[in-house]
Every structure is written in structure tokens, then in C-alpha cells.
Assembly symmetry: D2
Homo-oligomer: 371 residues x 4
Amino acid sequence: MTTHSPAPTLTPARPVVVNAPSAKQTMRALVKHHAGSELQFVADRPRPIPGPRDVLIKVSKVGICGTDRHIWEWDAWAASRIPVGIVTGHEFVGVIEAVGAAVTRYHVGQRVSAEGHITAGVDYNSRTGNAHIASDTRILGIDRDGIFADYAVIPEENVWPVHPKIPDKVAAVMDPLGNAVHTVMAAGVSAKSVLITGTGIIGLMAVTVAKAAGAGRIFATDMDPKRRALSRKLGASEAFDPRDSAFINEIRATCRGEGVDVLLEMSGSPAAYDQGFSCLRNGGTAALLGIPAKPPTFNITQHVVFKGATVLGINGRKMFETWYQMEELLISGKLELDEIITHEFPLEKFKEAHETMISGEGIKVVMSVNG
Amino acid sequence: MTTHSPAPTLTPARPVVVNAPSAKQTMRALVKHHAGSELQFVADRPRPIPGPRDVLIKVSKVGICGTDRHIWEWDAWAASRIPVGIVTGHEFVGVIEAVGAAVTRYHVGQRVSAEGHITAGVDYNSRTGNAHIASDTRILGIDRDGIFADYAVIPEENVWPVHPKIPDKVAAVMDPLGNAVHTVMAAGVSAKSVLITGTGIIGLMAVTVAKAAGAGRIFATDMDPKRRALSRKLGASEAFDPRDSAFINEIRATCRGEGVDVLLEMSGSPAAYDQGFSCLRNGGTAALLGIPAKPPTFNITQHVVFKGATVLGINGRKMFETWYQMEELLISGKLELDEIITHEFPLEKFKEAHETMISGEGIKVVMSVNG
Amino acid sequence: MTTHSPAPTLTPARPVVVNAPSAKQTMRALVKHHAGSELQFVADRPRPIPGPRDVLIKVSKVGICGTDRHIWEWDAWAASRIPVGIVTGHEFVGVIEAVGAAVTRYHVGQRVSAEGHITAGVDYNSRTGNAHIASDTRILGIDRDGIFADYAVIPEENVWPVHPKIPDKVAAVMDPLGNAVHTVMAAGVSAKSVLITGTGIIGLMAVTVAKAAGAGRIFATDMDPKRRALSRKLGASEAFDPRDSAFINEIRATCRGEGVDVLLEMSGSPAAYDQGFSCLRNGGTAALLGIPAKPPTFNITQHVVFKGATVLGINGRKMFETWYQMEELLISGKLELDEIITHEFPLEKFKEAHETMISGEGIKVVMSVNG
Amino acid sequence: MTTHSPAPTLTPARPVVVNAPSAKQTMRALVKHHAGSELQFVADRPRPIPGPRDVLIKVSKVGICGTDRHIWEWDAWAASRIPVGIVTGHEFVGVIEAVGAAVTRYHVGQRVSAEGHITAGVDYNSRTGNAHIASDTRILGIDRDGIFADYAVIPEENVWPVHPKIPDKVAAVMDPLGNAVHTVMAAGVSAKSVLITGTGIIGLMAVTVAKAAGAGRIFATDMDPKRRALSRKLGASEAFDPRDSAFINEIRATCRGEGVDVLLEMSGSPAAYDQGFSCLRNGGTAALLGIPAKPPTFNITQHVVFKGATVLGINGRKMFETWYQMEELLISGKLELDEIITHEFPLEKFKEAHETMISGEGIKVVMSVNG
């Protein structure tokens, strides 16, 4: 290494904020206040103070994610991962209220959402357009304070200005919609036959996204007859109950006896792995988003090696290619989300909101915070 | 090279045909009988005799291609390329009437169309799934007898069995539809903004194909107001008259000030090259199908090198990936071709058929031969 | 479907052969004569007679494959798959001795090898440049008579003319070399770090292929110190004994703490699956060629889904893109195969040949038949 | 848009620097002091002061680019683009001397190079891993002060930490080496035949890069016999004088009569465009880096449309995929740069340095500034 003059002392960066809240200002927030189920509504949480490269956002609307259900129910995963005391939530839309002194990209008053995967920006994936799978990711509402609150702080690199044509209700759920778009776009569905195994929130989004993104026939599986009906309404040619495996031969027969071109696995069910890959033609592509509770023991030799299949692990959304794809699909009016975003509650009714989502009565549930 | 016993004499392959027509059997055909405009209707053309690896097809319906217009009008290109005495035409659907003795893939009675690019099967592209750009291609109805006739002979490698859900009228034009599908799919339009410069027959097909294949906003240009209106009906967000170049800034402005993701050049007009690339964002993709009368002098340094653009030359259709893509789009009901296939005539009215197409009164014109 | 005149009777294709052997001509061959281990040398096997689209090849040299070892040892797989009475073997080079009457692509006297995956040519993969994963593949020397003999019959579609610069000894093993090339090229190694788990015959070939195809650093694992030494000689930066899993951290550390870009799994060992994927960086690509005796139970959620990895099942060789790639690598002198093709025996010494290969004393063993 | 409380006043960001130079500190620099040829050596240029997100780098070594020649000679392009008074130069390696207060990624003492394309980070390409073709790029040493000086200021997003295995002399020219790597990698040369038209500095680098990245046979053209000899030494199978166009048939003949798989156009010569595309096989890929003085009028219909060719415009280097690829190729020892980096001068001998490069006596010329 080149020699150089003695290294100077590195003084710490001082937070320099424009329009910063005073230390005394408070806000409403939903907090995981103890190691157990539910969340606590807190009226006097101190407002977060942005660092020099952060923006402070006044939150308009938020979405409740499947992850938020795990946190609400405090299952084993949540207990092992979530720091007690945190503000939860990561799906949102809001308006920039203040910016750190070194912020250059955005300004006060912009309506924005944001990507919840926060990275230092120095690893391979962060520097090549794939920050969504960076090695050092910290996630909003999981590893640090989230957005179930009046205000939230976000690094400017993560901010996404929302197109005027996209209403707040939809902008609030661009995070999970991005999961569906990333899965569909990674696999590539244009002029292809597609099977979606599992139509929970993201699976249902994937039906309308796959149709919009150019899939030919779309097949879906789900045990819930209401979800199957909704799949058909959103564009599926046929939706099957996976408990009767006859659908495998039916799909294969209608696809030249060979199988579908693309499998989108969205259930995390080991049985769905087996069924889905049995429906996939040789040389087909499978994109895996669902997270099995334990590793599925499917026959990789038969399903992947002999078939010459391509398997894509899907995590998050591309930063930010997926966001641009979402914007184009949304502003061209190709997505049908009205029947997927079923309920909206004010923040104070967070308990009803979570229960509506957990019971399955609602699909995607949104809470309005300031708007 | 390894030595071996003396090379035996190679006797020529004898044609061995199943269900072959007798030498005396004749048929109706449209023939380029002299070096000049129009075609001649011939009632007693001898039926072609298939070789051992050919099929004999009884033609049901045929389409009139833009190429057939050149042949009809006997322009400089046609005069330099078309052998006088040939039966013309290459877009069709029919039924297999007889098969050569060494045919193994298809059988008498199958309803089929076929790919008109015929190759020896030994060059790089033929052996890697890209026979459409083989170095030794001979084209049906151009280099050898075509399908404006009761019967035609096709090598079995070129046969495409038509799905039962696809009606004859549509199956007859899978060749030009394939041009549109190949262009759209090569560029990749899923969740992207698209500009189509020139909406002749294939350009209009490209509008409905791009929409079906997942494009977001679709912009089109054409000087003809009827074609612009039809573009909008088929799915274009906006269609512009290219004589007013203000559309370039309009498109760029609505695409983040950067431009469209994809350009599909279908006019062959030098001005369209310039306009189209001016609308393309940095890093965008242009697929070029239109054939300029003379090489366009557009600024490749500005439009391609500095922009980091990708440019794809498009010729024919992929053999046979494009045909599978077409089938999936057609049987899933995503293409609107009713307003593109505007006229149908019996073979005997070939003169009206050609004139309807040439005058612009019709768009795609089909002739019924035997069905 | 279009109606048509009554379907004529289809008479069967008659074999019409140029330079065909008479029925009385015989040849030497290695035959799986009974359901048990070893092969039998037969001096008077009738010469095979080519059909109208086949070529008859006089075999010069052959290679012994790992599959031939299974057949020799008559393990459970072989007992369940191999028809007793068959001539085995599928790796070879030879000279065309006769051609069927409908053969158009090749001629008597050409030096050729051939692709052993034989398909009807009508399914999706056969028609899109991926016949290697066709749904109806029959394999030479496994499902039908192979090439451990003086003569063999091959469909002309499967023939590969051998470049004059490639010696017989190498041409005889283009089949397994093609496995290595397909694996390396499918993953894409250019300017990437690569880990190869398992350096049997194809794994060793993959080391020299990866180097030639542009890999940066190449890491390998194998339990055999001789194979590890040979890996290093062929271009591996480092070769590790997988019984000490410390190599995982060592590889990760030297790859920015993130891991290798590419994993080529060539062992079929469940432990190698786990180790290999542990070395793979987020967003990396794994190509799986090795065939586990039973499905590995590796953690697909951790290794593929969360990592955003791409997994490619590898089977055979692309027909025929891989063959062109091999030719380019071979004629540009970039592959080192001299230390991989370790032994050559005459056909009559087939027992020594097989035992040399099975004992591990030899790596790739070739038998000379007629040359 | 969501309503919100009155927008607060946005106060400007204050520069906050760690270890900042005092305003009185000066440095040596090469300055374009007037609108004319050459540069002026200035001993007392004020040291630049980094903003909150910049690093201050003490420059070790710099490279002289072809662009610097245009600036030196003050041709029409330079006169139209370069602001008089600027410090020029953009290829370098150095050591971080100070960091702005909001810098988080790098620290004082790190040995670094940097990407000279500076963007605001808000357009499509900047947010999708393609900042090298951002719409708002400003270039170091062209649009703002460069690195022919003791010190330079660089935004932290643009910094590239240099691997310890890469010597300063090589690290100083990673910018132009990146042009060669980006061109080669964009085209994809692994197991392919390649033609490089024009072996100036970057063309010669492309020869060694193409070989390292896995090309099969490499052909090159150049009018200078010394460059042709060096091409062969670096790995070209053959190098031709383009004034005798017989090489076109020679290349086509040795490539199956079809042509090379890949063309890398590095001359910007209209004749090379025609010759290069004439050597390209149907379906081949051409990557265009050379910048013609005026738009070439080559026949795009014949060379691109009918051929089904893919054409890639190449500009800069991918930020930062190309840098990772370079690092892997360099640390695995696959690149031969010793005969390309021919001369090294101290900064004060800048006149000899520029003249050595301009005369063609040297190829890549490096100047040492502080190391």
C-alpha cells in the first residue's frame, strides 16, 4: 500500500438536521412493549431525529404485513429477532417533513414511500443494483424503529418518490406488491403459462401482476375457496384445491403434456413444492418466495437436475428496478388491487386491524395515520 | 482424420411418398407468370410431389403479406429476387394430405401451418434454436413454390400443428403475427414503457401483442389517422402523427424526462429511426424490424454508443420459440386480431384481395382456398 | 378443425439405405449379456442396419463413462434401466460408413462424433434448441444399442462432424467434456470466482474448462489428494479436503467475506451441497450436475430463498450450442486434457480398461476400436 | 398528494469536514489555463475542500487518457466542452486524506481509486446499477476539477477501495481498463470467437481481457504493425492490416464460413464498422466502444436487421459490476498489462509524458504524483 502522511484523527460525524423536531416533540406509535403478543399504543413516543443523510417522514398510511402478524403473535421467530421496545411496521406512504443537512436528493413536502432494507452501501450486491440481498441488511420495523407511528426516519438512499397517479392506499402497500412484482419479473412470465402455488396476500397480488406482466394462462392453488374464487376474478384461468392432486395431471395435459413454463411458489408448503415442481416442464423456471417453516425435503435431483430447471430464490424487491416496474404497471392501470386491499382502519383501531388480517376476514389491511 | 475402408458409392436418395398424388393430378394456383405486375390464376398446375421427408398439405386459407405486395407490383426487389414461374405466398393453414416415406413427426389429417424459412439444418443457427437466421435459408413463395394454391409441399421440420382453439382465419396469419411476437419478445416489454414507430399490419399486431405480453404504457406513431385510432383501440395509451415531432418531448416528459424503455421500429423510415431513438432512454432496448429502402444515416454514436443502448435486428420468427409464445398468447385469449384481419376473399378473387390490401382499405387480407 | 377428404391409408416407411451392410455382416461388440456384472465380448454381432434418416458409423475410439461403470457393476440403477442384450457405450468418434436414403446432411467418409440423446423432435425443448432435456429422450448405449462395437447407427440429427484440429483421443470424449462445458457455460464463469465441489472425471474437466472459459479464481474440493494436486495443475487456485470444513471460512474470507460468485456441484454428495452453498455469496449462481444417491436435505430456504441465489439443474449438453462451445475451446488450444485422459486400451482389453477406470488408477479411459 | 403541515424553511447544508485542509493550503496541479493547447503546471493551486459526503484523496499515480490528449491538443470537442481553468485528468490511485462529516463508507488511510462518472443518484440508471449511463453525469477532469494534482475531492459513492494485490501502476489505469472489461463482458466472449477492430490503448487491453475472460480465438485489426505484433503477444490468434480487406474472407472461412461470434469495435473508424460487421455471423453480438468523428453510414439493414445481430452501445464502465470483474481478473493474475503500461514519468515531466503518449511511442503513460 502506498505510504502517506500520518493518519489524522477521525472526528465523529455530527448530526446536522434541517427542520429537525425538538427533543421534546412526541408522537403516537405502536410499540412492542414487552416480550409477548400484541402491540401497545403509545401517545408520547419521542419523535425520531434524522441524521445528516436521513429524511424525517410524516406517515400518511401504513399496511400490515404477514411479518407484522408474526410480531403481533410473538412466535418463535419474532421472539428471536425483534428487540423489545421497537416501533414496528414497514409498509407505508407519507410526506417528507424534514431532511438532514447532507441530504441532496429529496426535499421537504415530497410524497414518498421507501424501501425497508437498509444497507451500508459497500458490499457487492449494494454496489451492483442488488442491495435487496446485501450482506448487512437491517430492516425497518424489525431491526430498528419502523413506521407504525406519526413519524419515521429513513436514509435518503431508501426513499421512493410516489407517482401522483398512485393513490395513498396503494402506495402504502408498495412493499408487498414489490415482492409479487419481483417474483413475477424474476421468473419472466411474458407469453408463458404460469402456476402460482399459494394465494395469500402476495400470491393474490402475483395473480394480477402476472396477468399484467404478460402471462398467458395462469393457474393457482389454494385450500380456501374464497381465495380461489378471487384468483379467477383477478385473472387465473383455473384455481385448484391442492388437497386433490388430480390437478397436476390436468395442468400437464393442457400444457402439451409437458407442464407449465413457470412456477411461482408462494406458500412455503413442502407439499406445494412437490406439486409445483411436478407441474413444471423440463427446462422451466421456478421462483421461490414462500418460506417453509422447516426445509422442504423435495427431490431436487428429479425436480431440478434431471429437468434442467432454473430455480430462483426471491427475497425482498430489487432496489430499485422492481419499484420502477411497479410504477409502470400501476400508472398504466394494469393492476387490480381493489379486492386485495379489503379494509382500512385508523391507527387507534390497530387491534381490530390486526385481528381482521389475522382472522383471514381481510386480506391486505391498511391503517390511516395522518391521511 | 481416421483412415477407413474405401468410400462406397453414394446412390441418390429416391423420393418415397405415402399417399402421393399421381403425376397427372393438377390444382389451382396463383403464379408469377411473367416479369411484370400482378399474378396469373392457373387452374391446371401439376400438384407438387413431396420428397421422403416432406408433407403434402391441402391449403385451407392463406394471408397476403407485404412481401406479396412487392411481388404483385414487381418492384426492383421482386424483379431481382423472384424466379418467374413460381407459385407465390407463404402465410397459410391447411391439412396434411400425404407424407413422405421417411416422415416420422406428423401424419395425414393434421391441421397445420408452417414456418416458411427452410434450411439444410447444418449451420450454427439451425443447430442452436435460431434457424430463422440460418445462413442458407430458402423462403417459401419467394425462392421456391409457395402456398397460393390448393396444395403445397413443406419439409416436416417446418410444420407447425395448429392448436384446436385457434381458428383457421387466425392460423393463416401466424407467420406475420410471429414477426410481431418475435419483435416484442426479443425486446422484452414486460412492465416497460414501449414506443412502436409505424403501425402497418405488423405494427398494429405489435400493439395488441405488446399489451398482451405485459407492456405498461404503449405509444405509437403513424401518419394515418385511422391506424392511430385503431392503435388506441388495441391498447396504445397514445398514438401520434410523426409529422409533428413535438411528441418526442411529450413522450420523454411522461417517462420521467428520460424516455421509453423499449423502441419497436416497424416503419423502415429513416425519420422514424431518429425520432424513435430520441425517445429511448439511456440503456434502453430497440428492436428493428422495419426495412429501410436505403440505409438510414442516423447518428449511431449519439443514439447507441453514448446511450449505452441495446439494438436488436429482427428477422422472421424464432424457430420455434416464437410459435410456442404465439400459441400461448392466442389460446389464453389475450390477442385482439378481429379488427386487423379485415377482409376475406375466395382464391379466385385474388385480384380484389390484393387490391384491397394495397389500397390500404384492408389491413390483413385473407383468401380462402379450401375452407 | 378444417374438414378434408377421407384420410388415406398410411403405409409404413421402408428402410432405404445407401451402402448398407448385408444382413450377414457381423462385427465385434461389448454386450450386457446377462443380468449381472461385467460385459461380454462378442465377435459376431450382426452389424446394425440404418433406417432412411440414419448414418452407419465405423467406430474409431470410445470413452468409458461413469454410467458405464454402473452398467459394468450392475447396480440397482443399471438393473432397473438397462435391457439385457444391449451393446453399451455412448462416448465415441468414428467415420461415416453408410447413410440412409433420406439422409441429406452428412456423407460417407466424414469423421464424426454424435450426441447420444435421441428425441422425436416434436416436443417444446426439441424445437427450441434444448433437445438435451426433451421429454422423450432415448439414450445411446442405455435405451438402445450403443457404440462399444465396430459399427453403430445414429440418426443424422445427432451427428457432429469433428473439426480436423481435434485428435481422435479427444473427440472420443466430447460427450463428458460437453457435460463439463455445459455446466460451466450455464453458470457463466467469466471474470467470476468459482468453487467446484467434487473433482471426478467431469469435475476435473470442469477445472480446465472454467479456466479456459474465463473464470478468475477457481477453488475445488475433493477427498483424494491426487485429484486435488491435479486440480491445482489444471488451474485451481486452491484445492481443499472437504473433511475439514475450515475451507468454507477461508474461501469466504478471500472473497470479500461474501463468498464465491459461482458454485459448480459435481459430487452429488449431500455434504457438498451444504458446504458449497455455504461458500456461495448472496445472489450467486449454483449449477448442479452431480446426482445424489438420495435427495439431499439441504436447507433451501437459507441457501436459496434468503440468498436470492440462482440454481441451475444440468443434464447432458445443449444440442448443439455446447458442441460449438467445445469446438471453439478445443481448436483455440485452451483446454488441458492430456492428464485427464490417462489410459488407452484396445477394445479386446475392455476388462483391464474398465478395471483401470473403476479402481481410480485411471481417470478417463479410452478404448481404440478401429483407429 | 397528502396534505401536511406548512413546509418548513430548508436551510442549506453546511460543509462539515473531518481533517479538512485549511483554506491556505496549496498543491501542485496541471491546469488548462487558457483556451489553447497544452496544460500549465501550477505549484500553488488551493487544495480542494470536501463537502460532507466527499473524501479528499492524496493522489499517488495517474494515467493519461485518450481524452486527455484531446484536451491537451484543444481540438473542437475539447474547446466546446472543457471549462478553462479546470484541473484535468481522471485516471488515478491515491490514499484518503480526509473525509466529510457525513461520510460513512470509507476512512482516512484507505488506498483507493474512483469512478469518474458523478451523478445525483436519482434517475433510473443510477438507481438500477447502471449509473455509468445516468442522464445527469458530470465527469471528473472534464466537467469539474480532476486528479492531475496532489489532491482531489470525490463523492464517497464513487470511491473504489483497491485490493492489496493490485500495484499502484495498475490501479492508476483501472478507469480505461474498465472500458475494456465492460466492452468484453457486455458482449460475452466465453467460448466464443472474437474480432477486435482497432488496437489502441483500450483495444490492446481488450485483447488481454478477452483472453482472460474466456474467448476462444481472438482476431484483431490495426494499421500499425507494432500494435499487431503486440496483439499477438497478448493472445490474438491473428492480427490483420485492415487496408487489405482479404482478412474478411479469411476470418469467415476459419469460422465455419459463417463469421465470428463477437465483434468489439474499438476504432471508431467507419471502414472498421463495415469490415467488422462483415465478419460477424448471423445472430452475433457487436459491442461498440469506438467513437466515430462523424456518424458512420454503415448498412444497418444488411448488417443488423437481416443478420438478427445484437448491437451494444458501450459507455464508461458499469458502476460497479465492472470494477468487481476487473478486481477478480487482476487478483487471479490473468491480465498482462506490463507491455501496455509502457512509460512512467514524475508529474513535473507532464510535457514529456503527454508527448510520449501522443507520438505513439508509448501506449499507456502513467505519471507519479505522490508515490
